[in-house]
Symmetry: C2
Subunit: 216 residues, 2 copies
Amino acid sequence: MEKIRVVIADDHKIIRVGLNAILQLENDIDVIAEAESGTDVIALMKTHVVDVILMDIDMGAPSGIETTHTIKSDFPDIKVLALTQHEERDYILKMLEAGANGYLLKNCGRDELRAAIHAVVNGDSYFSNSVSATLLKAITELKGNLKPASKSNSDLTQRETEVLQLIAQEYSNAEIAEKLFISVRTVDTHRRNLLDKLQAKNTAGLVKYAIEKGLV
Amino acid sequence: MEKIRVVIADDHKIIRVGLNAILQLENDIDVIAEAESGTDVIALMKTHVVDVILMDIDMGAPSGIETTHTIKSDFPDIKVLALTQHEERDYILKMLEAGANGYLLKNCGRDELRAAIHAVVNGDSYFSNSVSATLLKAITELKGNLKPASKSNSDLTQRETEVLQLIAQEYSNAEIAEKLFISVRTVDTHRRNLLDKLQAKNTAGLVKYAIEKGLV
DNA sequence: AGACGGCTACGCTAAAAAGCGTAGAGGCTT
DNA sequence: AAGCCTCTACGCTTTTTAGCGTAGCCGTCT
């Protein structure tokens, strides 16, 4: 069985040395090179066959994120394992968008490092503890912003829904009446029924509901 | 070193047997029980000490998702590794929201299974290949849906913002005046300035803006 | 045939918002 | 000191909503 060829990319020498030392202990992992900048990494790819890059996010320009992006478009088969101190959501999301296959915090243990490398080699993803927590939180939040759009707007009639949509589009009753070829009084009735059904106090409440339900 | 105590939950016996056979080969993993329903799983938790549950999503009521939810609220330390054929985004997201620590496809290999179990025991997350792809796609999409909402609400003064927030909360000018200890006329002026600045035709426009900017 | 829900519509009144203009007090900047 | 912005406030008019009630028409379900 071939060894897994790993490159360590970090602008801090201490980190490189540390990681290297840890990985020396693994008999199926081979650290074939170190890089101290994104430019180095990309250069290395052209001269070496690499399976996994341990990529620090915080390298100076080009950043780990940019570098990952480049790697992934030029060498899509190379796995990138992001290695960082940051748990900030934006970093994580950007790195993932760039195509990173896993995300480890720098204070991870030997076991985690090994497991993560194996995971990405298998084509899977590995996220360290707090990173996945952050990620899930992000997803939940983001989903919350999307989900209401798919709820069924249960108890409103079709006509009411139409009227509501137009209200939310800033049309006045008179304009709505014109658009729907009905009397202003009818629109008014619909509006009142809406206020009643949705327990809204005024237009603001109607618009909020409309937006929640994705009617706009 | 203690063995990792695993429970297999799936309503198909073949799957249970198969997984069991695979895990027998691991000398640090102990399959202590099998469950064929969510109810079984929860019952087992009360009588056994468990580290990891391999949870099928498709079990009948209660579903794997519901069961995971229950487990996670009653026994937060138990790790749940979702095991499924489905790569559908909604399934995945729901399972993650429920608190699953990892996500494997049923056609995963022995290596993946082992790695995933170790990952979740470590407190990390493991996502199989296609799952993480789906996940990333979802995140990217969702992020696109959120970004516009985080625009800076540039040109509004603080007071205007306050008034706008209250408007969006369905308060009338009179109520706002009372809350802010100012005259109704002042609120009216603010409201008019808002209409002007935001180029809104009426309350609906104001509320839409407020929601867009996340002021509600 | 009768009941019910949805859409239509009218009358009336009060309240609220929109559409103008104006303007002073206070703060900050130039 | 002059200029600009913010917050404050008032007057007046018109339009729009809100808050009641009522009611006919039509289709469906019972």
